[in-house]
Amino acid sequence: MVKPSNSHAILQMVLHWTLAAAILFLFVSSWWMLSLPLPSDDYTYRVVPFQLHKNIGITLFLIILVMICLRWVRRLQQNAAARSALQTLADIDQWLIYALVAACCSSGYLSSSYSGWNTEFWWLIQLPAWARENDGLNILFSDLHQWSCWLLLLAIVLHIAAAIYHGLRDDALLPKMFP
């Protein structure tokens, strides 16, 4: 039987690695899929990749919400012990990644809403249209999506560098996030 705190940690790990695989897939696939022909009645190449991109993005947003809740609960359970500068930096990086993932997902979803395209979550649930088609707002949120994603990529590179640094130092920090 897994203790509640352990089950939290396991869930956090599963979500962390799901998030990592999904984010990298979204980056790599989006670099390619933007080279597909613009959508029209005849050219529908973008339909499946963009719908998949939105499905994964919305799922990531939900995962991030769960991860924030889990982290908040864990923080409440922990004693307010003094934290080193490196630990504070790691916390900042973690929260920055959470915030940037949320920003990427929400700006992408809003851009799609203002573009007039429907979103069918995993081809099962038709999400309501929040707004009418608006080119200006579509471009604004599209730009926000793009810039928040570049910032996220930068934060992820820092996160990976920190993980490899701790791994090479073998300072017993990695086993906490590696199942």
């Binding site: 695989a21 897939f25 597909l36 613009l38 005849d42 050219y43 990749p49 579509n138 791994g167 130092r169």
Partner: protein, 183 residues
């Protein structure tokens, strides 16, 4: 040199983190290729030569010129026209299997972090498989025309070398551990 090696060995945890990183990147690459081959089916509109609809609002939104918009269609035409009949099936198969094996390499990375030897040993099979997939992909891409070769050969060659390094490092680690146990 020997002195440096003695004082700065690459830790299992560090190697594990690197394995996980490359596993995730390989998964993303294979997943993206799989999606590409699903979408770019032969006989689709680009191959029929239908003129693209380059609307001003779409061009503005994507920050594209009319020429670039037309070239997006040419890009698909190029991909379809230069693919031999077997290419799509082979790529779907290689990328599908590649996604699974790349995900399978993650537990190997985790095992290095926790020093779990049985799982570390299975890394040899895992990286061997990834290396074989890269090699088949490389031979396949080399058998196509210059357009696909230009697109595929370099990344495949890069991955082949990465997986070769991971395989050899894994084998060396397992061998070193066995020798240590025997001594």
């Amino acid at each position: 040199m020997t002195k440096i090696m003695q004082h700065a060995p690459v830790s299992g945890a560090g190697f594990g983190a690197i394995i996980v990183l490359f596993g995730l990147l390989a998964f993303a690459g294979h997943g993206s290729e799989f999606l590409k081959q699903v979408v770019l089916a032969p006989g689709s509109s680009a191959e029929l030569g239908i003129a693209p609809d380059c609307r001003a609002d779409e061009l503005d939104e994507e920050n594209l010129t009319v020429l670039e918009c037309q070239l997006l269609v040419s890009n698909v035409q190029m991909q379809l026209a230069s693919s031999p009949h077997w290419f799509r099936t082979v790529q779907l198969l290689l990328s599908g299997v590649g996604m699974v094996v790349a995900l399978g390499s993650l537990p190997v990375g985790f095992a290095f972090v926790h020093n779990r030897l049985p799982m570390i040993k299975s890394g040899i099979t895992c990286f061997g498989l990834l290396l074989a997939l890269d090699l088949i992909g490389l031979i396949g891409a080399a058998s196509t025309g210059p357009l696909l070769r230009a697109q595929y050969l370099w990344p495949l060659f890069l991955w082949l070398n990465i997986h070769l390094c991971l395989l050899l490092a894994n084998w060396h680690y397992v061998r070193g551990d066995s020798l240590e146990q025997n001594n």
